[in-house]
Symmetry: D2
Subunit: 277 residues, 4 copies
């Protein structure tokens, strides 16, 4: 009757300051841990004897962060997963999710300050480590990457029925808050450079593509990543269409020369696809 | 290379007022629509000829809401799914997600007013209709149901390692913001009463259970639903453990007799399980 | 040059469980404390010698909550204010803001359970205690009280200019998420009953009023409170107009008989007024 | 009895794309309008004859944005205020609040793309125009500027009482999400450069200051702005102290060398001050 279960700790917040002389480095992470395994008795009998408390999972994040490096969240995730796997015989599968929040340096007199930081961007670098038995999967991603293009975006020639009122357009604003997740074929990856290569490929393709639809551009972006970033074996992209509606100025005797828009939060189109090599 | 794709419209907001004399009824819904099917060419070629715009999906929600009933979101979802399926030969699977937001009536002079409403509770009634070919699945759910018990909740006898600092407790606060989703075995269900029966079973079991852990109580709640609400064939519950930490008053020479707590948002334990009949 | 300053602690979260046999009571509060006084040297010189840490303010909330009652947030606020005032000679004015979050009891077998609770409503009861020298002001309020009326709401006969496109309407939905704050003439008030009397007066007046505009109804509601709740000496109400737009169904050959609406979050009208006795 | 009233429109969202060949510029604004004046009869009598609808205010934003420039929000605000003042004899005071959301350009092949943009930072540039009779006030600001320094921040030598448990520290993390608002002495200001000068002065002072407390650094930042940015006549800064707590690793036999922190959202210290020239 109990067919699936899992437990863990979410939103473990961690800031690590690494001090090398007067140049400090800052890592700001949110960590999630999820255990699957032989834990049925805790559900059916209330038998906690095999249950590592989620509070201990949290403590482990801090202890391992103190003892080692966290700059590459993928490596820190692998470290955490291996630690839990070695000590918990009931654990069959462990997933570590890490969000890395971006900070830049405050510029002072034209130079980056070594010990003062400013939160940057709305986007988050994500990673997922999924380890079960001898199988280790490492994925990475980016979320809340908010982008907009003001040219080369059309949507025309679509299906029409009696409820269709949308006109064809050959020149609209295309805006999205992109989420992408991808998998690496193996663990022999330089994770930081790989992440930055995927991110810039996504951005450049979005900027340059002659878009016939969100679907069309999403596919081109995913394809470009698989074509140009070797370690990536699969990618999934989700793109909400953050509609920017042209304001009808003709009601006041004015013309809208494709200049004045209302950005809207809801409803939104939601387009998703997965590609593999 | 393109292995999966879907598109649709999210967060279509709809309020319908049904007027029967001086007694009005209010339905406040958020609808999501998701299409899967033979849409590869829209991704790979930018060929929109088979693509029903997500704007049309939105219009369809309003048109069908005007022509028919929306009081039971499950029936409205089935209606929408059938409509889309009949007219879109490329559509292989359509999913409709509906959130129903609760309003009560404002009491005036001891009687419920017929035309004045007050938003109630933080919880949301949800439903999902998933139709592919001749297969129709109807599920329902509740989300953001925030509950707390101040007795009969323990967590003791758990696994300890070198990072475990949590003490055993036999009397703690147990609080959660529950999400549950369940499936009905067939479509021959009186959806409103079934939903209310599941909800009250979840609440009563939570209140009465001698909890040895969140896992233990979650399982008892799921089991009680399967035992007592006939049409439900499977249920999944997710319970964040919204920790309430006892404040250490001994630092000021005071005793905390299990009375003074700090509720915390993060980190939180996250417990999940699925049961089937 | 330094013309104004203040410091304090915000969002001190407190849950107190009062146990009387098998019937427990739950108070869920968020407390803010704000000090004004002779603290200039801490700004200009970094001289902390007169500065009570905000961490101590937080501790004081817990210590006083453990030693006394918190059921009436107004009395707890007065207690906190007096405590701080007596011990901090530099303190010239202290403000305590308390939000009280509503929990009801879970019904089990037709009776309210003594030890199991459910979060209720989206609204929050607020209070403000402002003490300076011998002057003590106590105010109360309600926020996020979301209400809607589906009849007796018009907006017509307004000023028009070349940018006005809004049609007159004699039958629209009127929805708001009301915030009200009021002051009591003195401290000799039974705060719980007074709060409930204001709340029900606001609700009943909203429900019954023949509204010519949000302004008109807001004024009537404020006036009704001053007319019927003796201890209240002044009231301020802020009502966002949460627009519900009629969907234009004529584009699909359907009629909208004032039934189908899109609730919108932005932009919104914002109407405010203060009345005194 | 009616002692104060105001009405207006909030969260009018506007994106303007200015196209100069293949280089487009993007302005992303949220506008609020607030009228005060001779509007008592709309409250007391429901007399709308002098009331400009808030819907018209919204339309006016779009019409004036189409006809003129919006790149400097201060000038656009002055334009809006003058427009409303000229046409509404009952209007005694109008306030325009504008938030400007930052977008950068997507880099492609080492060069900034002319027509593709990426949302930047979490901070928002704000401005307020307040016009009453012949008096015009222009203010500007920045909000949600999230910054952190990992050195030269102390908090020691403060007042202690029986509830004080905070130890003195000479080396803590100092993090805040700063909000600042300032006024210009007159309208003869180059608003863009002035805004950027204030922002960089705030950042540089935060980075370089030997902080004895949040109060101390806040004051130094405000003072530096008044000292170095001529057009600014007054400034108000609000700094929440976003506490980063050192994790106690000694419980696991580890030492925390001021490296491992938990950032917390609540409670937080809140420090505020206003300085004038």
């Amino acid at each position: 009757m109990l067919v699936e279960n899992a437990y863990g700790k979410s939103r473990v917040r961690l800031v690590k300051v690494s001090r090398r002389g007067d140049r400090h480095d800052l890592s700001d992470l949110t960590v999630g841990i999820r255990f699957e395994g032989d834990y049925d008795a805790s559900y059916t009998e209330g038998d906690n004897s095999g249950v590592l408390p989620t509070d201990t999972m949290k403590n482990t994040v801090y202890a391992l962060a103190a003892a080692g490096e966290v700059a590459d969240p993928e490596l820190f995730g692998l470290h955490l997963a291996a630690h839990f796997q070695q000590r918990n015989p009931r654990l069959q599968r462990v997933r570590i999710d890490i969000d890395q929040h971006h900070w830049g340096r405050i510029p002072v007199g034209g130079r980056d300050h070594g010990q003062a930081f400013i939160r940057q961007g709305t986007e988050t670098r994500t990673c997922t480590v999924d380890v079960g038995g001898k199988k280790q999967m490492v994925g990475a991603g980016v979320t809340d990457l908010t982008i907009l293009k003001s040219s080369r975006s059309a949507f025309a020639g679509f299906l029409r029925d009696e409820y269709t009122t949308l006109p064809d357009t050959t020149d609209r604003l295309l805006a999205t808050s992109l989420s992408a997740t991808w998998k690496y074929a193996d663990l022999d990856v330089d994770f930081g450079p790989a992440w930055r290569a995927v991110r810039s490929t996504l951005l450049e393709t979005f900027a340059e593509h002659d878009s016939k639809s969100v679907q069309h551009t999403l596919h081109e972006m995913a394809k470009a990543v698989l074509d140009s970033v070797g370690p990536v074996s699969a990618i999934r992209i989700v793109m909400p269409n953050k509609h920017h509606l042209q304001v009808d100025l003709s009601r006041f005797g004015l013309e809208n020369r494709n200049e004045i828009f209302v950005p809207t939060d809801e409803p939104y189109g939601l387009i998703e696809a997965s590609l593999v090599r």
